[in-house]
Amino acid sequence: MAELSYRDAVARGIAQEMRRDPSLVMLGEDIAAAGGVFKTTVGLLDEFGPLRVRDTPISEQAILGAAMGAAMTGVPVIAEIMFSDFLAVCFDILANQMAKTRYMTAGQVTVPVVVRTANGGGSRFGAQHSQSVENWTMMIPGLKVVAPSNPVDVVGLMAAAVRDPDPVVFFEHKSLMARKAEIPEGELVDRLGTARVVRPGRDCTIVAVALMVERALQAADELAGDGIEAEVIDVRSLVPLDARTILDSVVKTGRLYTVEENPRLCGWGAEIASIAADEVFWDLDGPVVRIATPHIPLPAADALEDETIPSVARIYETIRRTADQ
């Protein structure tokens, strides 16, 4: 067991897979010599060399296109898009090409690409460098979507993403980079499409991903003080979605809360809420409530950013206020 930070876990997960598969390569801006602007790829250039770990120009379309073309022809690729906000500059390649080509070609083409990207707020970077955009990718048929909340999951889900033959978008949360955890020795391989109950409870279900998981857990602790036992689920993988684990929990607790960092409209929580409101409607004991960032671009100032992204206090208060509805 070694204690690793979330950022180190990224490199650990990638290294594990690059050792296993000598054909796996990486590309992205400043990922090689500099070890990434979030220092998530430190050491990989040294170990795997400049042909497998490659710095690119600022050409996000060329990056994802190169990844796709290589993957189609037998070379699996991990591509980095530095900030998830920049998925917008290469959204055609991601959403219209990578995601659709297998289907359009009746299965002739396979695209084993992992698109890693730093996601989420909390760094006071303002509206163009702080977005949570899991929903941008979740809404695209043909993309798988993973958003780990802790270092162990980073390693295992990275391995699962790399081994998955389909394009996977892997969201690394900027505000979790410094979180540490003990990582078991040896090969770690997790499974996509599996949510995890990170806190059992009987009174309500809180679903969260990434940074929101720890906040949901803290809120759940506070709620426990008031006699409300919340079950907290770390969704981990938005596509494939472990709807079963979520719905089982809702059936048990009768109440569903989503905690979303994305601005509200069409967030992933809306999808999960709509699934619950259909499939376990009769098991619901009260409204499905979404706790999300308001539908605004993010402000830069610390005071303002802290106010807009769901906080422990907001989660706690919202559930406290609505639990008896």
């Binding site: 296109g65 189609m72 002739q108």
Partner: protein, 356 residues
């Protein structure tokens, strides 16, 4: 705010025609084996007859969706197709029938795909704009401008990494040179010395708009080559021999690790942009002049000059016609795709399942 009105720009058909250069008479003497030339002839005829048939079927309302013909532009696909190695990669656009067939993809499934049939190349799921046959190195037709240049880079990068000496050849139009992905792809190809050949089919129009009105340079591809440290190359895209020679050269260079090339092939599409377009925005003399420069009669005449008996050419024509008829039968006989197909192959496990 007062905005002045300059009526001079309005009717593109009234602009001065852009006429073709005459055929270079020296091209008769290009060092190409006669056998190869007969294959180039047959290939061009195949593309031509196939697309004429596709057009007939469209008039019979049998072709579903849109389709973009390259009648008049066949010399480029044929010339490159012939110059490529079997395991090289092709990347094409929505206007990709010719590029697909030029790699040896059988006519029947391609036509069936246009008709939306289950025996189509893509089981009806792709349609005319997405023709792909991985087993023939035809890595896909991409219908959104620009993307496939970056993807072609990826295939070339993979060949470079794997050390296979495969070359990636990417076809696109003049209009495509103005989109961002063009720039990103060319720069990366040059920086990484990728074995990729970019082929700009300059047919003078981006859909309904003359390319010169929306492009800062005269030759949309060649005049950009230096921005990537590449040589400007312009070739007569209506002469299959000229194309073949240039193609052989640039592909060979790429194969030897000497990096990418950007080729501008001058040509003209004899019909509208897509099935909905009568092409009225083009000066009539311009269309006439280019039709007179059609690559197929040109090539036919050349073969006669080189001593091939007319009868041999007729035999080829008949063989092609027979294959197109067969393909038509094949396509028409196809069933509508089974509805389960729609829910197949989103994911590599064959399914469309996104949840448990």
């Amino acid at each position: 705010m007062s905005i002045e009105f300059d009526p001079g720009l309005i009717d593109y058909a009234q602009r001065p025609p852009r006429l073709p250069q005459p055929v270079d008479p020296n091209n008769d003497d290009l060092p190409i084996a006669l056998e190869t030339r007969l294959e180039l002839y047959e290939s061009q005829l195949t593309l031509r007859q196939f697309e004429k048939r596709a057009y007939d079927l469209f008039l019979q309302n049998l072709v579903k969706g849109t389709s973009h013909l390259s009648l008049g532009m066949e010399a480029i696909a044929a010339g490159f197709g012939k110059a490529m190695r079997r395991d090289d990669y092709s990347f094409a656009t929505y206007r990709g029938h010719a590029h697909t067939l030029a790699r040896g993809v059988p006519l029947g499934p391609v036509l069936a795909e246009l008709l939306g049939r289950a025996n189509g190349l893509l089981e009806g799921k792709g349609g005319s704009m997405h023709l792909t046959s991985v087993e023939h190195g035809m890595m896909g037709s991409y219908a959104i401008i620009g993307a496939h240049l970056t993807i072609a880079n990826g295939a070339a990068w993979s060949a470079q990494l794997r050390g296979t000496e495969q070359v990636s050849v990417c076809f696109f139009g003049d209009g495509t040179t103005n989109i961002g992905a063009f720039h990103e792809a060319l720069n990366l190809a040059a920086v990484w010395d990728l074995p990729v050949v970019f082929v700009c089919e300059n047919n003078l129009y981006m859909e309904y708009t003359p390319i010169d009105l929306i492009t800062a340079v005269e030759n949309p591809a060649a005049d950009r080559a230096s921005a990537y440290g590449l040589e400007p190359i312009i070739v007569d895209g209506n002469d299959a021999d000229a194309v073949y020679v240039v193609a052989t050269e640039v592909i060979d260079r790429a194969r030897r690790g000497l990096g990418p090339a950007l080729v501008e092939a001058t040509t003209y599409r004899e019909q509208g942009h897509s099935r909905a377009d009568p092409g009225k925005y083009r000066p009539v003399e311009e269309v006439a002049a280019w039709k007179a420069r059609d690559p197929i009669p040109l090539y036919h005449q050349r073969l006669l000059r080189l001593g091939v008996p007319e009868q041999d050419l007729t035999t080829i024509q008949q063989a092609v016609a027979g294959r197109v008829d067969e393909a038509t039968e094949f396509a028409k006989s196809g069933a509508a795709p089974a509805l389960e197909l729609a829910m197949k192959d989103v994911w590599a496990d064959g399914s469309a399942v996104w949840r448990n």
